[in-house]
Symmetry: C2
Subunit: 339 residues, 2 copies
């Protein structure tokens, strides 16, 4: 039932070599023999064994994608696009969830040293770069949406600073003078650091007029957003505008505010990040920063294919995509946006 290239060769009355040439479209095979081989392959239902191929060719046609978790809408969109582009190149994707655990990340990086994949797309960086770097000797690593100065590899990212800058400026232009920057920790993530930089730049341009600037750095999901709002209630001087590091957090803030009969955006303006479906659904819709995920995915796959082909990938190259502010109901009243 399961046949090898040898069986095909025998049936066609030819050598393994010739059969292999037909499979791989090598030139220098006569039409006659090509036909005989194809006929033999069909009658036997022959399919080349990929393990043998991998061993001989030293190529797996597989790439691993490391993400914290796939249920995060940002990552599932990213994976969707990556898979489609990879598939165009006949490449397969192994999905690895690090769950924010450094040890899981290393476990999955092993896929590169054990030659189970030709390269790694790193969308999660839990370890210090010096820990990750040694894996480079086994194949290319392309960083995606993450960033580290030290890494001398291709990196594709969004211009987070600019995104945060534009969003913050928007809040300031609406007349807000007491701001809250609400995100995850900036210790672990360059993304937060870049956003904070953009946020502060906008603030500094308005420094004469700004009354107060506060920071919350442990907000990741909707429940955190609700908590942030409740903590606000206890404070003396509330901010009038919040820059949130994600639409979930923004949504949490808004929903909790509504529970307390606050009017958004009159009493509190909120801007989110990522333009998730969520930001269209709740009332008011959430002003948010849109990330062109598919563009990023396309670039990442292109880079990966190139690096696998050329086998030179220990050079820092940074590709940056611009973000766009989508102004909606959570910062400006009476938007004309009607679905």
């Amino acid at each position: 039932m399961v046949s090898t290239i040898e069986d095909v060769a025998k049936l066609a009355g030819l050598s393994r070599t010739t059969v292999s040439r037909v499979i791989n479209n090598h030139p220098y095979v006569s039409e006659d023999k090509k036909k005989r081989v194809k006929f033999a392959m069909n009658t036997l239902g022959f399919v080349p064994n990929s393990a043998a191929r991998r061993l001989r060719k030293q190529r797996t046609e597989t790439v691993a994608v490391l993400v914290p978790r796939v249920t995060n809408p940002f990552f599932s969109r990213l994976i969707e696009s990556l898979e489609i582009f990879a598939s165009d190149h006949k490449y397969k994707l192994i999905i690895c969830q690090t769950r924010y655990l450094p040890e899981k990340e290393l476990e999955y990086l092993e896929l590169l040293s054990t030659k189970q994949v030709d390269g790694i797309i790193l969308c999660s960086l839990q370890n210090h770069w010096s820990i990750v770097e040694p894996y480079l000797q086994h194949g290319p690593i392309v960083m995606c949406n993450e960033y580290t100065d030290e890494a001398h590899i291709p990196m594709v990212k969004f211009n987070q600073a600019e995104g945060a800058y534009v969003a913050t400026k928007h809040l300031l232009e609406q007349g807000h003078r007491r701001l809250l920057f609400c995100s995850g920790s900036d210790k672990s993530s360059m993304i937060v650091q870049h956003r904070k930089k953009g946020f502060l730049q906008a603030v500094s341009e308005y420094k004469e007029q700004v009354d107060s600037v506060e920071f919350v750095e442990d907000a990741y999901d909707m429940e955190d957003g609700r908590r942030v709002f409740r903590e606000l209630l206890d404070a003396k001087e509330n901010p009038t505008a919040i820059f949130a590091g994600g639409d979930e957090v923004a949504a949490g803030i808004i929903l909790e505010a509504k529970c307390h009969q606050w009017n958004i955006p009159e009493q509190l303006a909120v801007v989110g990040f990522d333009n998730q479906l969520l930001s269209e659904i709740i009332e008011p819709t959430i002003t948010t920063v849109c990330q062109p995920v598919d563009q990023m995915a396309k670039k990442v796959i292109e880079l990966m294919m190139e690096k696998i082909r050329t086998k030179t990938y220990k050079k820092q190259e940074v590709y940056e995509f611009e973000l766009e502010l989508m102004i909606k109901g959570s910062t400006v009243k009476h938007t004309t946006v009607l679905a």
Copy 2:
């Protein structure tokens, strides 16, 4: 830099065989030599080449998961769980998006014949079973959330009929007498057929009192939901309750209804499916049927591991999980649910 088992053997002054035994924890290796091998492996930074291993062992420790698309929250949750359970068994997951295309599905089924994976988890069935069945000769296929009578393989599913029955009964108990069953097409999907069966059963139990029953069978996402509501407006006799085949559709209906100043649930009750985050966010929250995805994922991985091990998998086994109705604001007024 890249070393083979031969290099390790040489450095340790032992044979390949012994090194291999150490790697695979075979018994009958003296402590002394075990230490020497381990030392040699460490100094060389040796990692076994997986292609060679696969070829020799005839096992890939990889499984493919076929889904329509990963951005569908149901599937991303499923994949998240599958990946975690697979990882517990040291198995890797290749993600394949069929995008509802039969030819893509077949392309990915080839992963089994080419021995790139040990088995396939089929969460998408675009081809007739007779087309898929031949792939079984190359390895196990476990069906997940899909179902076909003809398939003599393990299948894990939810009791869709029961779920729809309970949801519909809930609507009827609330006094509704004009119902709309709103889902995707029942041509392609057994799921819809089962739900319809449950829906009709509930209706038949109230047949003396039910005034009208209608069906819409081309609703898949939020925009479809909005469209369904608008079409309702034109009709003479509106249904007062809708069973929707997904939370997105339900959300679309509710949002559009609110745009038209309708009161939910007073003027229209809506029940969704899948208990997505979405169903918690919009106002009112959506009564929905909760599917225990992680239980299903666990069973699927267990089955797959067993079938790979025993190599017998051409027997129909059906495992069914029960669904639970989560009653929220879109069917009952003034829920006490306060987050």
